[in-house]
């Protein structure tokens, strides 16, 4: 007989307990997804009027000192600015606050000239500063801001190669490099490659906007659903068995305590994962309704590649293991399922808070130490992947840390199952 037969027996028993009970399968796997889908669909319909960006909608956009180099590029992709004098800036900012205008972009008067001087390698030129005013509480305005930022970022990165080419080339590029004095000349040189690559800019825009949406919404949802998935199975299986006196029956066999601890955690994690997956599907299916039809096309999961999904899966798996581990410990301390629930509920709030912090922190953190903080690390990793700006090392640290913490939980649970005070509390 293999030495692990006890471990497999425990896993087999937990699965049998779960999957042959239609009521439990329904309440832990089907119900969460269904409920979320129904609630969010209703909520989505109610929110629709507020959230939807009408496809016909013409954003109200103002620009001050819009440089020639950019005006053409913007209008060729259908972004039309009303050009205004600097004197109207304050009035337009007030309009944006009042949601009468969507966005105001202010360039320095000598933008093209300063860019040109920088490109030609001149020392001591202040990089020109662009200001964008928008209103984050207005969907259309926030959306235009995202578009604008991405376009300008792309423009900036497009300029660097141009400069490099200039430096090593002798043909027409010369004009671009030397054209500091002639703003129209420089403008044309800059403009050309930009418009030539516009389709790819367009794609990038969509990807980033979708990433922004995903990054801001999903990780928190996922964490909460995973946690409640774990919470719906672990207390019943551990505190419940204690309460009913069935755990002691297993403890009088030669079954090793670690086999019981690890077997419980592995099987509960699998079941909790199913429950979390169901919630996740519920969100995914109702998301289009929730954030409106117009952005629907943007939020295509199509944009993510296989490796993104695998990374998310690894983060989710390790998170579920950790959650099950911690919840199992609390359930082992408790004498009854009810007592376990009272211990776990505050923890749920902590996870919720940490997840919210992870979501509202701007982008994914860069300091590796952040990825050692349980829950926060998972949220930040997911934010990173969803917003296309992850560092593989951070995700590795996250998954590694979560697995290490789970290992600690298994060790403590093993010790607890061997401790008479835990098993026989009077």
């Amino acid at each position: 007989m293999s030495t692990q037969s006890g471990l497999f027996a425990i896993i087999g028993k937990e699965f049998r307990r779960f999957f042959t009970d239609r009521r439990i399968v329904f309440t832990t796997v089907l119900l969460p997804g269904l409920m979320i889908y129904l609630i969010y669909s209703v909520m989505g319909n109610a929110l629709q009027d507020m959230m939807v960006i009408d496809e016909e909608y013409q954003p109200v956009l103002y620009a001050v000192n819009l440089p020639d180099s950019l005006a053409g590029a913007f209008s060729s992709i259908g972004i039309d600015f009303e050009q205004v004098e600097p004197g109207r800036i304050d009035a337009i900012r007030a309009d944006i606050t009042d949601k009468k205008a969507d966005l105001l972009i202010v360039f320095p008067a000598d933008f093209d000239e300063r860019v040109g001087r920088q490109l030609s390698g001149e020392q001591g030129v202040d990089p020109p500063r662009i200001e964008i005013f928008f209103n984050s509480t207005r969907t259309e305005s926030a959306y235009q801001y995202q578009v604008m930022r991405v376009l300008l970022d792309q423009y900036k990165t497009a300029l660097a190669p141009l400069f490099a080419v200039n430096a090593g080339s002798d043909s027409s590029m010369d004009t671009g490099g030397a054209g500091a004095g002639s703003s129209s000349g420089a403008g044309e040189e800059v403009d050309d490659p930009a418009s030539g690559e516009l389709p790819s800019y367009d794609l990038a825009t969509q990807e980033d906007a979708a990433g922004f949406m995903f990054a801001s919404l999903l990780p928190m949802f996922i964490m909460v659903f995973l946690f409640s998935g774990c919470m719906s199975v672990a207390p019943e299986s551990i505190a419940g068995e204690k309460e009913r006196g069935t755990i002691a029956t297993m403890l009088v066999t030669p079954l090793a305590r670690w086999e019981l601890a690890l077997g419980k955690i592995i099987s509960l994690a699998c079941i909790a994962l199913l429950s979390g997956l169901s919630s996740f599907l519920g969100v995914m299916l109702s998301l289009p309704k929730l954030i409106g039809d117009a952005t629907d096309e943007l939020v295509g999961p199509v944009l993510y590649v296989l490796s993104d999904y695998l990374l998310i899966l690894a983060v989710i798996l390790s998170t579920v293991l950790l959650f099950v581990g911690v919840i199992s410990l609390l359930s082992a301390v408790a004498r009854t399922i009810k007592e376990a629930t009272t211990y776990i509920t505050p923890l749920m709030l902590v996870v919720l808070m940490i997840s919210a912090m992870g979501v509202f922190a701007q982008g994914a953190a860069e300091n590796y130490l952040f990825y050692l903080i349980p829950a926060y690390n998972s949220v930040q990793s997911m934010v990173g992947v969803f917003s296309f700006s992850y560092n593989p090392a951070c995700i590795l640290i996250t998954v590694g840390a979560n697995l290490a913490y789970t290992g600690i939980c298994v060790a403590v649970l093993t010790w607890m199952f061997g401790n008479e005070k835990v098993v026989f509390t009077k």
Binding site: A9, R16, G245, P254
Partner: protein, 258 residues
């Protein structure tokens, strides 16, 4: 070696919670449940641990089953130390009490297989044993029924069968007839005699004199955690009534006449 179970100077103290102190009406925070207790059970005998409620019988048996650890003392079960070799000890005993429950969701059939796995019984052996034991206790008809839907007598018989899936040489039984109807109690006591006739060693605890008189070859009388007398039934009673002898011992050790 014929002394299959040897207990030497076992001691177990429990910390009493505030709630328990109130319940037992005492100010002490420590309760000595078992105090310097020794006993010996030989191969092929039924050993009865006789004592009133709260004497410490369950605590002794739980220490033998390695579910709880003694503060002091040592015991050897089938030659294995309960302190240094608990898994070997658990492999050589079948332990049964009404507190150890079967999961109500499963059928006796599945639970027998599950516990056979935990005891690492080879599948072919376990199939044969299941057929034998289920037929012996009349469980075969109900083998596929969830434990939740079995009568309490049937539950007890299923528990008994499942506690000995691995055909242990030593069976430890805490209050074997407690809460059973007369018929099931009879089935259980008959089976314990059958096990003894097969050469197994049985240790049971009880507060019922007639059960000891009917079943046990040797007796240990335990009062307030101490072993006050041990020997064959004949040695203890000297031909007198067991109940009379017990109350003599009780008065002598507790210091009050009942």
């Amino acid at each position: 070696m014929s002394d299959l179970v040897q207990v030497q100077g076992l001691r177990k103290t429990f910390k009493l919670s505030a709630k328990q102190r109130k319940l037992e009406n005492t100010k002490q925070t420590l309760k000595v449940a078992v105090n310097d207790l020794s006993l010996t059970a030989r191969k092929g005998e039924i050993y009865g641990l006789l004592g009133p409620n709260g004497a410490g019988k369950t605590t002794v048996l739980r220490m033998l089953a390695t579910l709880i650890k003694p503060d002091a003392g040592e015991a050897w079960v089938d030659g294995y130390s309960i302190i240094s070799d608990p898994e070997k000890v658990r492999a050589s005993i079948g332990f049964l009490t009404s507190e150890l429950k079967l999961e109500e969701f499963f059928s006796p059939d599945y639970l027998f297989d599950f516990f056979s796995q935990l005891h690492k019984v080879p599948t072919d052996v376990s199939i044969r044993r299941k057929a034998e034991l289920f037929a012996r206790f009349g469980i075969d008809e109900f083998a596929g029924v969830k434990v939740a839907n079995l009568s309490s007598g049937m539950k007890q018989k299923a528990s008994l069968a499942i506690s000995i899936v691995h055909d242990p040489d030593i069976v430890i039984f805490d209050e074997p007839t407690n809460g059973l109807d007369v018929i099931t109690a009879r089935v259980v006591t008959n089976y314990l005699e059958e096990l003894r006739d097969q050469g197994k060693t049985i240790i049971l605890s009880t507060h019922i004199f007639s059960l000891v008189e009917k079943l046990c070859d040797r007796v240990g009388i335990i009062i307030e955690g101490r072993m006050v007398a041990e020997g064959s039934l004949q040695e203890i009673t000297g031909g007198e009534d067991l109940e009379e002898r017990f109350f003599d011992l009780y008065s002598a050790s507790v210091g009050e006449v009942v």
